[in-house]
Amino acid sequence: MSRRLYGVDGYLGSYATLGLLLIAGLLFFVAAFSANRLLRPARPAEPPGKRATYECGLDPVGGGWAQAQIRYYVYAYLYVLFAVESVFLFPWAVVYAQPGFGTTTVVEMAIFVAVLALGILYAWRKRVLRWT
């Protein structure tokens, strides 16, 4: 392929900085934890309860991975609904005002968004956003 795609100043080349930054970030964490390894107490005391789960100072009752009523999955559903929408929204946002697109493009997106807005309306009427 051409240099425009792969060269240092090409399209993918601009992501080389991103890769280098990730490496620099990893080096930072390696340095920080190495410093920690050198500086922390070499023979720390091990009193009973030191590695116990902390629950306000009392001995923990039951395991930490206990069953609980999870109300939050509804929000995750709502989220997925709109996360997909926003993925479509961004590329559309760049082109809709360019010549050759215009009102039809906007109306199409408006219908798409309106269908999803109905979803929120439904969730609201079904009272999933209320707890009591």
């Binding site: 991103l18 970030g25 920690n36 789960t53 923990p60 926003s86 946002a93 760049v94 005002a97 956003l129």
Partner: protein, 321 residues
Amino acid sequence: MPVWLELLIRVLSVVVAFLTLPLVVGQAEHKVMAHMQGRLGPMYAGAFHGWAQLVADGVKFVQKEDITPRAADRPVFRLAPIIALMPYLIVLLVIPLGPGDLVGQALDVGLFLVPAVLGLGVVAVLMSAWASANKYSLLGGLRAAAQLLGYELPMVLAAASVAMAAGTLSLPGIIEAWHPWWLLWQLPALLVFFIAGLAEIRRPPFDMPIADSELVFGYLTEYTGLRFAFFLLAEYLGIVVIAALTTVLFLGGWQGPFGLNAELGWLWTLIKIFAVSFLVIWFRVAYPRLREDQLQRLCWLVLVPVALGQLVLTAAVRLAL
């Protein structure tokens, strides 16, 4: 300049910003909160008004023992603070400080990359919450996950409104297209973005995931030492990143009130970032914590509809002009 040197300078500058800006904001938080509450805040470290307090904290944290609770899922527990910090490092790369070359790396899809990478924060929170094997951590983590998922939407929709107004996804491109009258045109999006941003970084009044009066310390309960310090660093970096994104998308980034953008652009950007950061700190002092279901209702019934309305407004105005 040889290519490798340029790349090195770019990457190092981002890492330096990653390590210094949060300290400045964190120190400002100590002092600003203290004075707002009629206290003095740190006064000893570094002799002059405790300026070196966070440096001293860092020195203390790095000497602490690395403790993992017996019940915890060890590798996940230890990896979580690193996952929490990485997205902010990546986002700092694409935020422009000034016009031209004063940016870590100008990407064409900067505005697309930023929310995508920030979305990783949910994973870090769930990792720390679940791996801690602590009931309070788990509760806090679930609250945080619901909150982060919910508020990502209004935030992304507000950002999309800016993309529609500017007609580009490149962050420097957005600043170049920015005009002062956008302050009015994009005002609903600005408010939605800022409020949703506050919730995304779990700052008061949206700090239910940590809620120290209810959940000990939420998903951070079991953390100590350096790993806890990294979570704190992530919190301050969050302020920097949200302030910087608000600046870049809505406040015109390097554009100043009177010309000289090429010379003073970096200064305008920094001034705006610190002004927004000040506001974030002020919110913490001024408002009490919301209840969990109030938080979700605010998101779904106020912020998301307002953001959708802004999309309509943006499209209408752009096509009319």
